[in-house]
């Protein structure tokens, strides 16, 4: 993005930001395990006939 204009990033006025540095190595493994658990759970609750459900999901335009 060579042409992208670089704007000055205003700093936050809060003391809290940047306070929490996360241990990247640990969270990487944890996040993956957490995602696997979530995907297991999703496999369990996903509509059994996905194709049919999607096909029948027709809405009228609104607003």
């Amino acid at each position: 993005m060579a042409e992208r204009e670089q704007r000055r990033r205003p700093a936050s006025r809060s003391d809290e930001s940047d306070a929490e540095e996360i241990d990247a190595a640990n969270t990487g493994e944890e996040l993956k395990a957490e995602l696997d658990d979530l995907l297991d759970e999703i496999d369990g609750v996903l509509e059994s006939n996905a194709e049919e459900f999607v096909k029948n999901y027709v809405q009228k335009g609104g607003e």
């Binding site: 992208r4 204009e5 809060s14 930001s17 609750v45 996903l46 335009g61």
Partner: protein
């Protein structure tokens, strides 16, 4: 000085009647609302259409070929004791939150709206024959080219030229998608396939075709000009915002409302950025929605280029200057204002440096992680129906099916606050008067709408109590009065109407 940013959200929910040969979405929506009204409320109070003028255009003229929205007076329509309006709009159940005075309060009422829909759905399903089921989704599209809205409303100063609002809010609306988007598999814009757009940031960008206009159902505009203040029209406008998604993430609802309220206050006070207008707004709206890696820059009218992040940083910097000068009173006070600014800063920083850190607070980022994991696990293309099913199920409000509630999204509200908001009005706006009157004098109220209530106290003619000031009729103003009046006749006598 800006007027207080009184705000609210109206959401049209997706509805599906399963195992029904001839599905009628209007009947299904009515069933949902009737189930709630009959199951949970003492008495139904109808909506009063006396002051509805959705065809009035903020630009001061009605376009010859513009389609004014129709008012559907014959459909189910109820007012709730929390001050909300719950009704059938077109073919959807819709809930408008009561008027709120800050983004956090409104986020609580938005979550309460979800709970009301869940209770309605469960109650309705108890009444349906075995094998039939009504399913509600908090989303904005069926994936087949049909869209329905999640609209925000903000009180703005009538004295501010509408042209300035249009010019200064449009770049913000186009850019805010990157922290407001609910995410969507594929595209519903004509001619685009999953190969072109496998996944995008918003549900709604595909459906916008105009920059400015009155319509909401076709040729949707980025800035909607409906001029129907539901308040004193000499003092106020209500900016009716149609360019947003219904979010499952409370953090997003909070940020969307909070940052937009601040930007509109800046526009009232003429302190919003003036140099961020995109050269091709409609095209840029879509480009930003399709740019999930946040890599693109876009040409501005002034010849420079800027990314969505660049524009949002410019608005953030202006918001700092504005708040130094005016404080946060008109967006709900210092605590909330400082919190919005801090979160605004943090979300932009995270989008810039580490978007995946936002999987617990931004729907489209949470979805992307989930969907990519699901794809890898099952070796699926984006065009596989299971991906579309997953994308619907994220928004499914059935507690045993919905995905969004399972993934640990950060809350803004507490369960206690939401429980309270289901039945009680916000104490800080006229919704307090509306909700408390409905609770105390249900038999004497014939109808209610945003800016008035109609009472029937027996032999006299019906009496209308106007409520043209959104910040009058609050708990501070009328709590004692309502406590002291045992019946509506006494209330009206004391009010002097």
């Amino acid at each position: 000085m800006a007027v207080h940013k009184v705000l609210g959200i109206e959401t049209e929910f997706g509805i599906l009647h399963r195992n029904d040969g001839e599905s009628n979405p209007v009947a299904a929506s009515s069933m949902i609302i009737n189930a709630y009204v009959n199951g949970f409320l003492e008495r139904r109070i109808g909506w009063d259409f006396e002051d509805e003028h959705p065809g009035v255009d903020a630009r001061g003229f009605n376009e010859f070929d513009a389609l004014a929205p129709e008012i559907e007076t014959h459909l189910v329509n109820a007012v709730l004791t929390n001050g909300a309006r719950y009704y059938v709009d077109h073919a959807h159940p819709e809930l408008s939150t009561p008027e709120c005075t800050d983004a956090k309060q409104c986020t609580i009422y938005d979550r309460a709206a979800e709970e009301i829909l869940i209770r309605s759905m469960e109650k309705a399903n108890e009444l349906l024959p075995d094998g039939e089921e009504l399913v509600i989704h908090k989303n904005n599209s069926d994936g087949k080219g049909n869209s329905y809205g999640c609209h925000e409303n903000y009180l703005v100063d009538r004295a501010v030229p509408f042209g300035r609002i249009v010019q200064q809010i449009m770049p913000f609306f186009i850019s805010r998608q990157i922290f407001c988007g609910a995410g969507k598999v594929g595209s519903e814009a004509p001619g685009l396939t999953h190969a072109d757009v496998p996944f995008q940031i918003t549900q709604r960008a595909d459906f916008f075709e105009e920059e400015v206009g009155l319509e909401t159902t076709l040729k949707r505009p980025i800035v909607n000009t409906r001029d129907e203040p539901h308040a004193d029209s000499k003092k106020y406008r209500r900016l009716h915002v149609i360019v947003g998604d219904a979010n499952m993430s409370e953090v997003q609802t909070y940020l969307k409302l909070g940052t937009t309220a601040i930007v509109l206050a800046m526009i009232d006070d003429d302190m919003a950025p003036n140099d961020c207008a995109f050269e091709t707004p409609v095209k840029t709206l879509r480009e930003i929605s399709y740019d999930v890696d946040l890599e693109m820059s876009h040409r501005l009218l002034n010849g420079q280029r800027a990314s969505a992040l660049d524009v949002l940083w410019a608005y953030y910097a202006a918001a700092q200057l504005w708040s130094d000068r005016y404080g946060f009173e008109v967006v709900g006070g210092d605590d909330i204002g400082n919190d919005i600014l801090r979160q605004w800063h943090d979300v932009l920083s995270a989008l810039e440096s580490d978007p995946d850190s936002l999987t617990d607070s931004i729907d489209w980022i949470a979805k992307r992680r989930l969907y990519e994991g699901f794809q890898q696990r099952h070796n699926l293309e984006w065009s596989d129906p299971r991906m579309a099913a997953l994308d619907l199920q994220y928004h499914d409000l059935r507690p045993d099916k919905g995905l969004a509630r399972r993934i640990g999204l950060t809350r803004v509200s507490t369960d206690e606050q939401v429980d309270n908001a289901i039945g009680n009005p916000p104490p800080t706006t006229r919704a307090y008067f509306r909700g408390r009157c409905l609770e105390r004098y249900p038999d004497a109220i014939v109808a209610a709408n945003w800016d008035s209530m109609v009472f029937d106290v027996g032999s006299d003619p019906l009496r209308r109590v106007p409520m043209l000031e959104p910040l009058r009729g609050t708990e501070v103003h009328v709590a004692n009065l309502l406590d002291e009046c045992d019946n509506a006749a006494e209330l009206l006598r004391r009010l002097g109407t």
